[in-house]
């Protein structure tokens, strides 16, 4: 790796917090050659975003550059003046951010936003600009490019917005594209389409890509070389092949072993009567009401029936808008079904809500919002026991403390408040609260989606251990098929409010029948752990 050939060369970059001098990025070095795709993998707090933003001179407030250099085409961008930086940003180095919902200006038409960059960085005439924009919008797969010019961002879905964002960046033919978690906010299927498009486009134009993500398999799929960062330090870098098969650093090994691997097949007796059954559930969301008429209702679920057997973990998968969350919330009684009924232990749920609530609990997706910020950890768990008539106050206190211990939060945590805990610890509290009652049935709505890779692995482990110990049945809602492959006994695939396919986990993952299921599966790799702590990724192909 010589500096001469590199398009971008970062050397010994150190960034520190101004008020205490603590380094948040320490001695980071890597190169990007022209036309190459380089990945940066790390969890939150690894400094991957801080390091890459500083390439275009965007250093977060409160942080300063301490030492090191960032040389782009022979010029140190850290020493460059504002004029040079302005020329580089957009014109030479394009950036695609994570949030397609917020990175486009909501009050400007798509046409004007795309034109902005061209006006700033090129000398094209209005006619040329229009032609180029239309061409690029067609290229990124918009159905009606001419119509899109006068449309506003909110008229497009997340995936479409990210395509538009990509179009606006690639219009300027940058030499380097920084893609910071470009698809994290998107659905698995959409994610893959956007990534493929990005790789194609950059290949066409010979643009180098710096792909920043926490998603190791995704990075591995598209890069030849990647860098692993942990707490501001580059712990390992090398070719993708090499790192995957023979990881050297313990952290890389930990990251790899945190990837979800297929769990064991468990014997579930499906001949006994199901503990929870949903029968022909239909849910309509009322249409928008205007002054004189009521808009047409939107049907979220079209007559869904599912059975969950004692001790069984059933995964509900699908893209956003598939109705999987609505189904979970309906079974939990948070959404009222328009028609149909839910049976618990063979009896109608609606006949005995108290009995149902005592035996059915829920874990929510966002551990930041599911815990009352004004209650201590212990009282949060204790509250779950409040309504149990057979326990005395002392027993409740003891049970709460024991349950906290069980989820790996010792006495030291009892008096703390949720904001003093990390996301993973909070989700442990949420799980403790849900299992404290010893429910027979648990609904988990994307319980690990908000967590970092290694934390996710720990929480999943905890979850399956508890499930084994208490034997509760579980409806596990997730868009992440990797997690599902690890934890589920049976899988139900949903799309547009209907069940597309269901079956045993291995059957669904190894021999999917429906095209949509295959499409979902093509987004995640099959993983095999080798002896040296490395991983073999096998991508499942579309039919």
């Amino acid at each position: 790796m010589s500096d001469q050939n590199a398009l971008l060369s970062v050397r010994g970059l150190t960034l520190e917090v101004i008020h205490n001098g603590g380094a948040v990025v320490k001695d980071v070095s890597f190169d990007v050659s022209p036309g190459e795709i380089v990945g940066i993998v790390g969890e939150s707090g690894s400094g991957k975003t801080l390091a890459t933003r500083s390439i275009i001179g965007l250093i977060a407030p409160g942080i300063r550059h301490a030492s090191g250099s960032i040389v782009y085409k022979g010029q140190d961008t850290l020493q460059a003046g504002d004029r040079t930086l302005r020329r580089l940003r957009g014109g030479e180095i394009g950036v695609v951010f994570q949030e397609p919902m917020t990175s486009l200006n909501p009050s400007m038409t798509i046409g004007r936003q795309l034109e902005e960059g061209l006006i700033l960085h090129t000398k094209q005439t209005a006619e040329m600009r229009r032609t180029n924009i239309l061409h690029m919008l067609t290229r990124v797969g918009l159905k009606d490019p001419a119509g899109a010019l006068t449309a506003y961002p909110h008229e497009f879905s997340g995936g479409m917005r990210q395509r538009i964002m990509l179009a606006s960046v690639m219009l300027l033919k940058p030499a380097l594209l920084i893609a910071d978690e470009p698809t994290t906010a998107l659905d698995a299927v959409v994610q893959r389409d956007v990534m493929e498009l990005m790789v194609e486009l950059t290949k066409e134009q010979g643009t180098a890509v710096l792909l920043i993500s926490h998603d190791l398999p995704m990075v591995a799929r598209y890069t030849h070389r990647f860098v692993v960062m942990e707490r501001g330090v580059v712990v390992e870098q090398g070719t993708t092949e090499e790192i995957l098969s023979r990881p050297k650093h313990p952290y890389t090994r930990k990251l790899l072993s945190s990837l979800p691997f297929r769990g064991d097949v468990r014997a579930i007796d499906t001949n006994v009567s199901p503990i929870v059954s949903a029968r022909d559930i239909v849910v309509d969301y009322p249409g928008r009401k205007s002054l004189f008429k009521k808009g047409a209702a939107k049907r979220a679920l079209h007559g869904i029936s599912i059975d969950i057997h004692p001790g069984e973990v059933v995964a509900l998968v699908g893209g956003s808008g598939s109705g999987k969350t609505t189904l979970g919330r309906t079974i939990a009684g948070l959404v009222k079904e328009t028609s149909g009924e839910v049976l618990f232990q063979g009896k109608r749920r609606d006949n005995d809500w108290f009995h149902y609530r005592m035996n059915c609990q829920m874990v929510f997706q966002d551990p930041y919002s599911s815990l009352d910020p004004r209650m201590t950890i212990l009282s949060l768990v204790e509250e779950a026991l409040r309504l149990i008539p057979s326990l005395t106050a002392a027993e409740k206190k003891q049970r709460a403390a024991e349950t906290l211990e069980e989820v790996g939060l010792g006495e030291a945590f009892a008096g703390r408040y949720p904001h003093q805990l990390s996301g993973g610890q909070r989700q442990r509290v949420a799980i403790a609260r849900a299992i404290a009652r010893r429910p027979k049935f648990l609904i988990a709505d994307e319980p690990v989606s908000a967590l970092d890779v290694t934390v996710r692995a720990q929480v999943l482990d905890l979850f399956s251990n508890l499930q084994k110990r208490y034997g509760f049945s579980c409806l596990f809602i997730s868009h992440d098929l990797g997690v599902v492959e690890q934890i589920a006994d049976r899988v139900i695939v949903m799309q547009d409010g209907r069940i597309i396919e269901q079956g045993d986990r291995n059957a669904i993952f190894d021999a999917p029948k429906e095209a949509y299921t295959r499409k979902l599966l093509s987004a995640i790799p099959a993983l095999d752990l080798n002896d040296s702590g490395g991983v073999k990724l096998k991508w499942r192909l579309d039919a």
Partner: protein, 272 residues
């Protein structure tokens, strides 16, 4: 527990002093606050009369001490009234949503459209000008803004997952509201309540100034301030000292209120 901030200590001291002075004023004052003395009319502050005397020769210090009771009582009672009813209305409206919310808020907004002092004037004309009339009138005038603030907080809180979690646990709606929603509304309520205390004392002064407050000869800070106005050139202390009392009280309340809000919020603990 973390100690109160420096500001909080200052605010607390001022408010404590105010209460002590008001309490002493109930039993003892240097002079009889009602006793007229023509020989000592408009006497400047001196050793005998520390803060001087008014146009009827009444001792200003004694009158301020007695007036503190009325001002503090009116401020306190008004705030309690507005906090209680405002919070109640806000909780119901924000939690129920739908048509109930529509009707309550339409009424609430109509009341909000009146300037508070104008509304109080109108109500006083109906109820008559006395202490209870003032408390009632100001209370009604301040309730709508409290209701709005609480409703807003409730509307955003009830979408949070911990409210749903409470429902899944089988808790009743009343329990959920009292245990989870109300405590999380405390920050905005405290902030608004402390500033309301200030407004109430000011409004009482303004009403007294207009002659609609506590009727003379009973002293309040407001009517003393008003009574001092014609003599501002000969005896500035007549307006200065009641004004100073009002200003200091407001300062104390605001400092204390901010400190209390931070202290009551567990999220503010452990930062810094």
């Amino acid at each position: 527990m973390k100690k109160l901030t420096f500001n909080g200590v200052i605010g607390g001291t001022i408010i404590t002093l105010l209460f002590i002075v008001a309490a002493i004023g109930m039993f003892w004052t240097p002079f009889d606050p009602m006793k007229l003395s023509f020989s000592a009319r408009l006497a400047a502050p001196s050793g005998a009369h520390l803060l001087g005397t008014d146009e009827f020769g009444r001792d200003v210090l004694s009158r301020l001490m007695v007036g503190a009771q009325a001002s503090v009582w009116i401020g306190f009672a008004t705030v309690c009234f507005a906090v209680f009813f405002g919070t109640l209305i806000g909780l119901i409206s924000g939690y129920a949503r739908g048509w109930a919310d529509g009707i309550i808020m339409a009424f609430n907004n109509a009341l909000l459209a009146f300037p508070g002092i104008l509304l109080a004037l109108g109500l006083l004309a109906v109820f008559g000008a006395n202490q209870y009339g003032i408390i009632f009138a100001l209370g009604i005038a301040y309730t709508p803004s409290m209701a709005r603030i609480v409703r807003g907080a409730v509307l955003s809180l009830r979408e949070r997952e911990f409210i749903e979690a409470s429902k899944v646990m089988g808790n009743s709606e009343i329990y959920t509201i009292l245990r989870h929603i109300l405590p999380n509304c405390l920050a905005p309520i405290t902030v608004l309540a402390t500033s309301m205390f200030g407004w109430a004392i000011l409004s009482e002064s303004a009403l007294s100034f207009l002659g609609l407050g506590v009727p003379p000869p009973a002293p309040t800070w407001g009517n003393m301030l008003a009574a001092g106005r014609p003599f501002i050139e000969q005896a500035a202390w007549l307006g200065f000292f009641p004004g100073l009392c009002i200003a200091l009280t407001l300062l104390g309340i605001n400092l204390l209120g901010d400190a209390l809000r931070d202290k009551l919020d567990p999220r503010m603990r452990g930062l810094k």
